[in-house]
Symmetry: none
Subunit: 508 residues, 2 copies
């Protein structure tokens, strides 16, 4: 029987539709398009698009207004256009993607089976190839959440995530790194640790994340001081010159699978211990690290709520690290209240600068935490006597070497700048006197986000009432910062519906 | 404090964008839109839209081509336009939706907690209000899949699904119903059972579904014989007059939560026993039924593959039914091959008509299955002696009462018509003699769909080679029917790539 269809019959001219659908590639085709009809495509169908040897899989939206597309055209969303590396005037072919075989592994996991190396690898490869829709990603994240991954599965996931990303290597060993599992607003120690450790002489090529569910990630805070979107070549140059950097990890695709999973975990607000371990360690492995200190703040409103949970997480981090050749040391720290005063990219950067510059009113808690962690790194990666790391770090910070190193790193990354300041503020004061006995980190973080952080770098809040402090009636508890009146109003509206974000007890 | 923003500042003219995004409501706003900027909206933000007192929540796509929208406009996808009940020239206000509190229950479920009535109800209310994005829906479906819902949770889900839908009531008890869990092509017994049972004197207001993944749903088949898009008032009139009806359930929104969940379960290919039970029983309860017979065909290529799985499902159906005041009886039937000869809306309707009219060559298997199930319904809902239901049904079918009742129901629904016939056929014949030992229902269904079913009502196939029959070389196995030569070609192309859809063994 002769061929009934040929490639040309499945080709259309493609054009950029001018619609930003975030990271989900969307394809637009007319309802009366001959390809839609012959292939049986309908709205939400998954469609394989091929042009000049590149392929992507997108979700179909059907155009019902003929003015949007002509007969011989298909449209691509901004993400689809970018991923396909398309050019104006190109043609593309459209067909059904092959069945998503690795989805059967996700289903097996849902039905209680364990995932081995082969299955995990197949899932992660399909995710990175863009074969999973948001629905599929959500199913995978949900299936793994809630501690459903055991240690062997977590090792498999970590290995699979390293396999699909870039991997860096460095001439000088040891290569150190540091990570905080997060959940503690203002805990921006990286901005201090990197210059201290680099000034000490260790190599610390720090790739940081942007905020996922928090008001600021380290990359967001650093970006208010210097460029962070460096490619691998630029990172190599900065680290070669200064011994350290603080850049955004997303730009170098150290863990492209993680970058994709994170965009689903965020709206679901769904974390999984196994995915967290794989996310952290895959990035450290890809960054070429040999020694890593991990900060786990524990508190009732932090990400990790109990010492027991911190212990379980520590064990998994250490065990998975060991299986993959990484020296991991865990520091369990106090997570009962925000660190420093600022919450939000620019406000946190301002606190870190104050510590580096040795300002009189610099937040001491941020200074202490940074010195402890820097000390741990120095002890883990070198043979200095146990207990001396803190003092070594303290000298480097106090004598200005860390501050000079920080400025040099910023300059090497593209030039240092002052963090922006917000245009709209609102200060919340105590309605009665009392002593602060508790703070809800989560709701404080939420207010900072409603005010615009992290997308508006100057937005967030300044917090003035640490646990144990005595407050008079009318004394400021915190100040909300926003870049637009609408966002300030939105944060205030939420605030009005809440109480006891700062718990005041009677004075003893 | 004075209002910081007013409604007008958040209003834009809305217009229909002319894009079909299936059921996901999408909102289009320009990147330079003042509302986007003041509210901090970006692509994929969830946006609350209010117009004339109606509200919906949609996902934002940001328009980067200024020609698509003018400065004072926002666009709505077809689904968003429909849900908002908008009119050309309307204005709408745009704001942040409130935080999705019920998502914490979904997370709790993922972390191993059980969901009570209150939690399930909150989740289902939010789903029906359109507050869950596709991501959230996928997480909920995944969290419940893999038999993760116990009986108490399934009862809670069923109750919650009934609460949010319309509920019908009928003057005459008992009110009977029948459901097939599906997966068996041609199993169109409803077209026979309703007239038999209604002629017997019971009330059977049957709402059927259209095809989801199959070549035909009962509503699709019935629609080739009479109108099925009846609203509740019209249904009430037909049932009041004739004691029964066969209409499309989607038009009356008996289980709007189920309608939403199904569109996520399909691309995930993820069924959950609990969700299936809740889906079936919530619709029966909403339809006002008191007695329901459920047909579970079991076969290696049917939806339920083993007797054990059928037994577990039966127990759950009966127990959940009992808890909610519904008498459920389950018939586990043979699901090894198609029922009747036709697969596709008109071809299945033709088979049912042949049985009703008592035609010489009417498919006996369809007749027998229908009589058994009708007999079960009569025994379940009345006090006739066990074992006599089949005979009672047989008399009503054989003496023409069922046929007259069917014609009366069709007339009451808007007028009976003959099913359409296809214009293009292709017959597949046996290449060698043998005895049929197996049939792949799933691939047969796929061919029928490629030929155009269910959208083209006359498309599908006629199947002539039931298991156990002796076939000569050159004898027809099945005939493909299509309404266009292109679709016939498309089905043949797939067929050419497949083998052993009908398995021929050597003659004994």
């Amino acid at each position: 029987m002769p061929p009934i269809t040929d490639a040309a019959a499945h080709a259309l001219k493609i054009r950029r539709m001018g619609i930003d659908t975030h990271q989900e590639p969307v394809i637009y085709m007319r309802a009366d398009c001959h390809i839609c009809r012959s292939e049986g495509f309908e709205a939400q169908s998954r469609v394989l698009v091929t042009s000049r040897g590149n392929t992507i899989i997108g979700t179909l939206n059907v155009v019902t207004d003929e003015r949007l597309l002509s007969h011989d055209e298909a449209g691509l969303s901004d993400a689809a256009w970018r991923l396909l590396q398309a050019h104006e005037g190109d043609h593309a072919e459209f067909s059904h993607p092959e069945p998503l075989e690795s989805l059967s592994h996700v289903r097996a996991k849902v039905f209680g089976h364990r995932l081995g190396d082969r299955q995990m690898s197949a899932i992660v490869r399909d995710i990175v190839a863009g074969r999973y829709s948001e629905l599929h990603l959500s199913a995978f994240v949900t299936a793994c959440a809630g501690n459903h991954l055991d240690t062997a599965e977590t090792i498999a996931l970590t290995r699979a995530m390293v396999e699909v990303g870039e991997r860096m290597s460095w001439p000088a060993a040891p290569v150190v790194d540091k990570h905080c599992v997060g959940g503690l607003p203002g805990n921006r120690t990286t901005l201090l640790i990197v210059p201290i450790v680099a000034a000490y002489g260790l190599t610390m090529p720090k790739t940081s994340s942007r905020a996922i569910t928090s008001p600021a990630g380290t990359a967001d805070a650093m970006e208010t001081l210097a460029p962070v979107n460096l490619d691998i070549r630029a990172i190599r140059k900065v680290v070669g010159q200064e011994g350290g950097c603080i850049v955004w990890g997303g730009a170098v695709k150290l863990s492209p699978a993680d970058d994709i999973l994170i965009r689903v975990e965020r709206p679901l607000e769904m974390d999984s211990a196994g995915q967290m371990v794989a996310s952290v360690l895959s990035k450290k492995l890809s960054a070429g690290s040999s020694h890593v200190v991990i900060d786990i703040p524990v508190g009732s409103t932090a990400k990790v709520r109990t010492r027991g949970a911190a212990r379980a997480l520590s064990e998994q981090l250490i065990e998975v690290g060991r299986a993959l050749g990484l020296n991991v040391c865990v520091a369990v720290t106090d997570g009962s209240q925000p660190v420093g005063r600022g919450i939000g990219p620019a406000l946190e950067a301002r606190d870190a600068l104050a510590v580096l510059r040795g300002d009189q009113d610099a937040p001491q808690d941020l200074r202490e935490r940074s010195l402890s962690l820097a000390g741990e790194i120095i002890e883990l990666a070198t043979n200095v006597p146990t207990g001396t790391g803190y003092d070594l770090a303290n000298v480097i910070l106090s004598d200005g070497r860390a501050w000079r190193k920080f400025q040099a790193i910023c300059a090497a990354q593209g030039g240092m700048r002052e963090p922006p300041r917000s245009r709209h503020t609102h200060t919340v004061t105590a309605t009665r006197p009392g002593r602060v006995t508790g703070i809800d980190n989560r709701r404080l973080a939420r207010i900072a986000k409603l005010a615009g952080a992290p997308n508006d770098p100057a937005a967030g809040l300044d917090f003035f009432a640490p646990i144990g402090s005595s407050i008079d009636a009318g004394q400021p508890l915190f100040t909300i910062h926003a870049e637009s009146p609408g966002e300030l109003a939105y944060a205030r509206e939420y605030l009005a519906s809440q109480k006891d974000i700062v718990v005041l007890g009677d004075e003893a």
